[in-house]
């Protein structure tokens, strides 16, 4: 493997955080390096992946869906079938195990749609850790079901009333908690962004997606896919998928961002398409910002992609041309949501539906000989209310 281990991915990454957190980040990076060198840590993570998360997740070919994707062969990596309903569990189990290695007893997390919050509350319940989840006030109202799930799991959910009251501000509030309580608290960050070591560490914990998918497609088709595709918000499921194919130059990598009402309208969350380099939440990366460097609020029907930043490795992959990032509107994502549900009986998360919409377009470009692997990062149960409203059911 030739993985970049941070803190920098080309000109991106780094640690743009208050000095008070540097000692904790150093401690975390050292603990993670020690864990990587310790076979017992890897074995425990793998055991939990198998007996708790339900890994390996299947790779499912979806031929009826693919009729709308130019007839290409489309395979879905089924992270929706992992415990708690998304890929988020892969990362939180790793970080919760690290928390125990650090001797810390309290974890904090941010959440937008609630999937990372639910996963963190789940891992905290499993390992007996105190858990506090920061969630924008608006998101707690939009995603009341996930708030209830977290509380049932024993987590404290704190509605964030500062700034724009969404995911961006939930991260700010979690960082403020961490600055204050860093001695006994570990920050379980939900995506492959933030200060070093989070981008590399979260990618590593999510790389199981790509490793399994690569082996599964080779076993199933006998060759590598022409393209690997996933949705990109902060970018953890996509970087987890991409990581296995980075050196397979025959495999094109596609990340699909949330274009909301359309990038040209300004109401979107397509950071790599419509943003520019800057610093947000501890890393240098692309972000949505105005001429003064003030962060601009993002817009997407998908709460999990509704974020004005993106992980630094994606910024590097974009600039280097190794991966291609394209915008997908709310409307295109909801069409794909509907089509996968009806054609295959699989209801995707709206986040994942952005990747599916991109794959439909990609299949039509590449034609019927093409083989596509698409990460189905989560299931759509949480999105039923949004879908009912969208389709006027």
């Amino acid at each position: 493997m030739n993985q970049m281990s941070g803190p920098y991915f080309g000109p991106y990454g780094g640690r743009f955080v208050p000095e008070a957190l540097i000692a904790a980040l150093d401690e975390l990076a050292a603990a993670y390096a020690a864990a990587q060198a310790d076979p017992a840590f890897g074995a425990e993570l793998e055991r939990l992946a198998t007996v708790y998360s339900g890994r390996p997740t299947p790779l499912t070919e979806v031929p009826r869906f693919a009729a709308q994707a130019g007839g290409a062969r489309v395979f879905l990596k089924r992270e929706d079938l992992a415990h708690t309903g998304s890929h988020k569990i892969n990362n939180v189990l790793g970080q919760a195990l690290l928390t125990k290695r650090l001797g810390k007893t309290r974890v904090i997390a941010e959440t937008g749609a609630g999937q990372h919050g639910v996963a963190t509350a789940t891992a905290a319940a499993l390992m007996g850790l105190e858990c506090v989840v920061y969630m924008g006030l608006e998101d707690t109202q939009r995603q009341a079901l996930n708030v209830a799930r977290m509380r049932l799991l024993g987590a404290e959910v704190i509605p964030v009333k500062t700034g724009s009251r969404t995911l961006k501000d939930a991260i700010n509030e979690a960082l403020r908690d961490w600055v204050t309580n860093v001695e006994g608290t570990n920050y379980v960050f939900g995506t492959a962004a933030g200060p070093h070591p989070f981008p590399a560490m979260v990618r590593d914990f999510q790389s199981v997606i790509g490793r399994e998918a690569r082996a599964q497609i080779l076993a199933e088709v006998g060759r590598l896919p022409d393209a690997a595709a996933a949705c990109v918000g902060g970018g953890s499921n996509s970087i987890g998928l991409f990581s296995a194919f980075l050196e397979d130059t025959s495999v094109s990598l596609y990340g699909f961002e949330a274009a909301g009402d359309g990038v040209e309208t300004g109401r979107h969350a397509a950071t790599l398409t419509g943003g520019s380099p800057g610093t947000l939440h501890g890393a240098k990366s692309y972000l949505l910002q105005d001429a003064d460097g003030q962060t601009i609020e993002s817009h997407s029907i998908s709460a999990g992609l509704d974020y004005p930043g993106v992980g630094p490795e994606h910024s590097y992959l974009k600039d280097s041309g190794r991966a291609v990032y394209r915008p997908v509107t709310d409307a295109a994502a909801m069409d794909a949501f509907s089509w996968l549900t009806r054609s295959e009986g699989i209801m995707p998360a709206i986040e994942s539906a952005h990747g599916l919409a991109g794959a439909m377009e990609l299949g039509r470009e590449l034609g019927p000989e093409a083989v596509l692997v698409v990460c189905l990062s989560g299931r759509g149960d949480k999105d039923v209310e949004t879908a009912v409203k969208w389709f006027n059911l």
Binding site: G14, R15, F16, V17, P18, E19, A20, I22, A23, A24, T162, G163, K168, D169, N172, L175, R176, V179, T180, N181, V182, E183, G278, T279, L280, H281, G282, K284, Q289, A291, D292, G293, Q294, T295
Partner: protein
């Protein structure tokens, strides 16, 4: 490129701290955010701080994601942005305030500096007569372009140290600072606290031992009694939220500042 008035030439925080020291005091460093409740009102409020005897003005640049700030300052900068604050306004405010002869240190998160370009930001600040920057989310290792620009324009560079900073980091940070080293009194964000953290004094001592000439203490210092305690062991006392709270409530700033200045007498 070299400015006639700059921190390096004797108009920076270091000189203000030295003057206070010669007068038997710790320097009083008073913070207010630019543009709150309006640009002109924030300039007038800073003038009240100067009349009350502040040795250094710490002028905050409102930013959308202020992770080091607690609710009082957080709310004020959110309001400043909502009412249309622009970074250009900051330089206007600095230019208005600088002739009073009190160094103006701008407190800013890094992204507005990166976005404008470190060199252009430094040039604009120097042109306006500002003394330098206090950068709460920038550590020296990530600050290369800013350090280069600050050195070219003779501006102060104020980085932070925290109770969690180990000796090697204290040395690194102390050696990167010009003007003073900002010691955060406690692990936490800005705001009012009932008593001064016991972590402040040992941090000041460790930072001095790491080579810092001037160590000023902020975060969680808000009352004359706390200021007096800090003045007994630090080179400067940094107060922010207490001013912002009074400004938001329409209370007098000048007499409050004068009381704090009294408290800085050793």
């Amino acid at each position: 490129m070299v400015q006639s008035v700059s921190a390096a030439d004797g108009f920076g925080a270091g000189q203000a701290i030295a003057r206070a020291r010669a007068a038997g005091r710790a320097a009083l460093i008073a913070y207010l955010p630019c543009g709150f409740p309006s640009l002109t009102a924030s300039i007038d409020a800073c003038r009240a701080l100067i009349r009350g005897g502040a040795d250094i003005i710490e002028l905050g640049l409102p930013y959308s994601d202020p992770v080091m700030d607690g609710p009082v300052i957080g709310q004020a900068v959110t309001e400043a942005l909502a009412s249309g604050f622009r970074v250009d306004d900051l330089f206007e405010a600095v230019a208005e305030l600088a002739p009073a002869g009190v160094p103006i240190e701008v407190m800013t998160y890094y992204n507005p500096v990166f976005r404008r370009g470190e060199e252009r930001f430094a040039a604009d600040l120097a042109d306006a007569g500002g003394a330098g920057l206090i950068t709460p989310d920038l550590i020296p290792e990530e600050a290369g372009p800013w350090i280069t620009a600050a050195d070219a324009f003779g501006l102060d560079k104020v980085f932070l140290v925290a109770p969690s900073s180990p000796p090697a980091r204290l040395r690194l940070t102390a050696s990167a600072c010009r003007g003073f080293t900002y010691a955060t009194s406690t692990m936490g964000v800005t705001g009012l606290r009932t008593s001064l953290s016991g972590l402040a004094r040992p941090l000041v001592e460790r930072t001095r031992a790491a080579g810092a000439a001037n160590v000023c203490v902020g975060v969680g210092v808000s009352t004359p009694a706390q200021a007096a305690e800090v003045a007994s062991f630090a080179d400067g006392v940094i107060i922010g939220s207490a001013f912002v709270k009074r400004l938001a409530a329409g209370q007098d700033l000048e007499s409050f500042t004068a009381g704090l200045r009294e408290a800085t007498i050793r």
